[in-house]
């Protein structure tokens, strides 16, 4: 195995272990054993657990940021729903590691970890803006998108605590939450109302947004 290939293999093994348990609980010995190499050989590729953890986090954050990439085709609600589905796939498979990281993570390396988390949030924000076809967002639109991204994170963390609500239901609900938060903002601001109307112009009655309106009317 070449140097880079071995490094990538080790990152993959470490990510798998860090995903299933809190990073504090994973030892270099365990990583070496899972990779089928000796402990000293791990140190040949990475100076210590922190650098391996950071490499694993970097790969995980690139993976997560990629999941927000969605072709600009078809109705907006359906696009957002596909993104939520891929996001929950990630949360589902990296549960304990995701929780440990988002809840402040291990004290070691927290500033690098925070920077990676912020880069994922920024990637998600830029993607959503581009789907709304907005170049220069007003402060209220920025607030709606960024605070919704926080809501998505919080929802995923609460879901992971006991998985008491079906995942698919949360995926739809979060898309509906986006529409609801945008509608509240639009109810306060004419510019937001115009943006919302433009975003929903091509939305079909049977899409997630049409579904929400029908459900709310049935509720009233």
């Amino acid at each position: 195995m070449g140097v880079d290939e071995r490094r990538q293999q080790l990152i993959g093994v470490a990510l798998e272990l860090f995903s299933r348990r809190s990073p504090d609980e994973v030892s270099i010995d365990e990583i070496a054993s899972a990779a089928g190499i000796s402990r000293p050989l791990v140190y040949h590729y990475f100076p210590g657990k922190l650098s391996l953890y950071e490499a694993a986090l970097t790969r995980a954050s690139e993976d997560l940021a990629d999941r927000f990439t969605e072709p600009r085709e078809g109705p907006l609600g359906a696009r957002l729903l596909r993104v939520m589905h891929r996001f929950f796939d990630f949360v589902d498979s990296h549960g304990p590691g995701f929780s440990a990281l988002m809840r402040g993570g291990p004290a070691v390396g927290s500033s690098r970890a925070n920077a990676l988390i912020d880069s994922v949030r920024q990637a998600a924000y830029v993607q959503i803006l581009s789907h709304l076809r907005v170049q220069d967002p007003p402060a209220r639109l920025e607030l709606v998108i960024r605070s919704w991204i926080s809501l998505v994170e919080a929802t995923a963390l609460i879901w992971l605590e006991g998985r008491r609500i079906p995942r698919r239901e949360l995926e739809v609900q979060l898309v509906h939450d986006f529409a609801a938060l945008a509608a509240v903002s639009a109810a306060h601001d004419a510019e937001m109302a115009e943006l919302l109307r433009a975003a929903l112009r091509d939305e079909p009655g049977h899409g997630p947004f049409g579904d929400l309106v029908a459900r709310l009317i049935a509720l009233a």
Copy 2:
């Protein structure tokens, strides 16, 4: 000045400094000077900056948790709005310290800080449940309240970055967001729909919730 009185004075001085600048930037010398005592005397009361920072955080978190306490009288929307107003008063006066803390804070003492933040979130959650008169919340109600608390935090942090939206507007909008998130959940679940109806039964047309409905109808 007695020992406890002096400790309380130092905590107050430290909190004031930690609120205005990131805790990493505040020195013991500065705290001593602001309190009008010598540096060695500060160490007589607190073993180091970390313990003083933790004492200041503890006082701030008790103050913040208290702001969620609201008499169970009058319409729910107006109660929530008063809570949001007191919350933004806190955010406004502790801006830089609040940001530093919520964004991962100084690496030192982060586990104690995280525990304090969690205790404030829990106090807010318990308060809101009691206002809804719910003893044993279903998973979906817990999710709505706790994810809304995250939304409030995120909104405050984004607001602090440039204060580009009037505070009063955000206070109302967050109360409306709570209603909107509860409505989305109710649109998916009969038990939530029943809880929402019960919560809104005594809501007047001119309160924040009635105002939201009127605004949304005007928008459509």
